[in-house]
Amino acid sequence: MRCEQCEKREATVHIKQMINGELEKFHLCVKCASEHGYFSGSFEPKLPIGDMLGSFLHSAMSDSQARGTTGQTRCPSCGLTYSDFAETGFMGCAECYRSFGETIKPVIKRVHGDFVHRGKCPDPRSKTETEFTISDLKRQLEAAIEKEEFERAAKIRDQLRDLEAGNNE
């Protein structure tokens, strides 16, 4: 079998990876495999970012072109363009997440199944537990409305109202 990447050398590295719930198989030669980080010798699992995430990112852009993001859209802070990002899978700075955040939300959701952080915060005092619950419920509410689950949405809305009333006391 020939290597899928260079199509020259014999494929001796066979990689199976679950990407988005789909089993993907790659057959590569040693040289291409190590270029893609599969022979890193590190504990870090390298995901084939260049190929997979890249293709998601390109499609996210075409979906969002109507909403104003093009390949030339630039992060005002570091100067990275969306096409640069889609090519490498690397953000340029913290501000990039504001510049491209809305465009890549669907991609983030495809990768993680979610786009809301529920873990540690650098300053635990910056958000109280109630605030956490409120922002979480708001997202659940949006999701329920989106799925047209109006009964559930009404329940969440009531919970929110109670919490917010309590918070203002």
């Binding site: 590295v13 066979h14 990689i15 199976k16 990876q17 679950m18 719930g21 089993l23 198989k25 495999a33 980080g37 599969y38 022979f39 890193s40 010798g41 590190s42 504990f43 870090e44 699992p45 390298k46 995901l47 970012i49 995430l53 802070s77 570091c78 100067g79 990275l80 490498t88 899978g89 690397f90 953000m91 340029g92 700075c93 913290a94 997440y97 955040g101 890549i104 991609v107 983030i108 990768v111 993680h112 199944g113 979610d114 786009f115 809301v116 952080h117 529920r118 873990g119 540690k120 915060c121 650098p122 300053d123 958000k127 922002s135």
Partner: protein, 354 residues
């Protein structure tokens, strides 16, 4: 040899101790946190000047982590380590090969027991790694959490209420946490159950790779199991989930070993003793053959077929007979043939010393 004295090749890392829960199957547990600074471009977009500022921060953090003047943590700018010594750090899993791409502007903080390594200017500004022996993700997470909070007292992290910790690559977004458990699965390999289990694991959010990345048949039946998702769950949920996934793999590996013994004990003993025989007699051995035979001998040790060899010998020999470690130990540059001789000597003497 490093400018800091004794080579890393002569020391054992914490994860190589052969201790901790489920060590019959689990070699080591690792937690990695990816962190970036709010006011600096991420490493791929940094100018050299900015990278040097971050490097200086790494040095300052290393000093700050040494509470009350202890010498627990040391700072190693990669530029000050020779290429062989850098390679030893990779072989011991203390740094990633990616860190070498920008060796002039990267560095690493390493704790005295080598359980902690904090890479500076890798894909993210900081990669906090805690690496323990056996199945001990909680201990690794607790330590990583504490170090992370310590560091957060000195710098301002790039963080967003919605996306969490902002990482260079969105695949690490949120918690920035990747747990990896290195497992030894010869039972599942020999009973040909592994590929089925690997595809099963990916359905529950785990990524499985060989020690060096191959897909189905990893070197020495060593596989690392990691979480895929980093966003949308708390750190403890991610750790708990990975824990229960690995526990299930451990259970299946144990019953596969049991089945092998029940099916044909003599045949398994024969394979183990043959491997032991070659390793204690060979005068020249390639790395790939050595790791396969060491894997069989390790299986023999945990099954009680070979009773006189401590389990800690295996990580020591697996790392110690890699390309750079073997040369640093010998104190000389060796070509491939010379390394095979040296490797056979090292393994033979080590196993016969027990």
């Amino acid at each position: 040899m490093s400018s800091y004295g004794m080579s890393f090749a002569h020391r054992k890392s914490r994860w190589m101790e052969g201790q901790g829960p489920s060590q019959d199957v689990v070699i080591s547990s690792r937690i990695r946190l990816a962190r970036n600074l709010k006011d600096y471009p991420f490493p791929p977009m940094m100018t050299e000047d900015k990278a040097r500022e971050v490097l200086n921060l790494g040095c300052e953090i290393s000093e700050a982590l040494n509470h009350e003047g202890s010498a627990e943590y040391s700072w190693y700018p990669l530029g000050k380590l020779d290429s062989m010594e850098r390679q030893v750090l990779i072989e011991k899993h203390l740094i990633s090969p990616q860190l070498l791409r920008s060796a002039a502007i990267s560095g690493v903080i390493i704790s005295r027991d080598e359980a902690v390594s904090i890479m500076v200017n890798e894909e993210d500004h900081f990669r906090i790694q805690c690496l323990f022996s056996g199945m001990d993700l909680e201990a690794a997470w607790n330590l990583a959490d504490r170090l992370d909070s310590d560091i957060a007292g000195h710098v301002t992290y790039a963080f967003d209420d919605e996306f969490g910790y902002l990482t260079t690559c969105p695949t690490n977004l949120g918690t920035g946490l990747r747990g990896s458990v290195m497992t030894h699965l010869p039972g599942l390999v020999l009973t040909e159950q592994l590929s089925r289990i690997v595809s099963g694991l990916s359905k529950v959010g785990a990524v499985v790779r060989g020690l060096y990345g191959e897909g189905s048949q990893a070197e020495g039946s060593l596989y690392q199991i990691s979480n895929h998702v980093t966003l949308g769950h708390s750190e403890s949920e991610i750790v708990d989930n990975l824990n229960s996934i690995v526990s299930e793999v451990v259970r299946r590996e144990r019953s596969a070993r049991e089945a092998l013994l029940n099916r044909n004990r003599v045949k398994l003993e024969d394979r183990v003793y043959r491997a032991y025989g070659i390793l204690t007699n060979a005068r020249s051995i390639a790395a790939s053959e050595a790791i396969e035979l060491l894997s069989l001998v390790r299986l023999g040790v945990v099954l009680g077929i070979l009773t006189h060899i401590p389990i800690a010998v295996f990580p020591e020999l697996i790392v110690g007979t890699r390309r750079a470690s073997i040369q640093q130990k010998a104190g000389a540059h060796l070509d491939s043939d010379q390394r095979d001789l040296q490797r056979a000597n090292l393994i033979r003497k080590r196993l016969l010393a027990e």
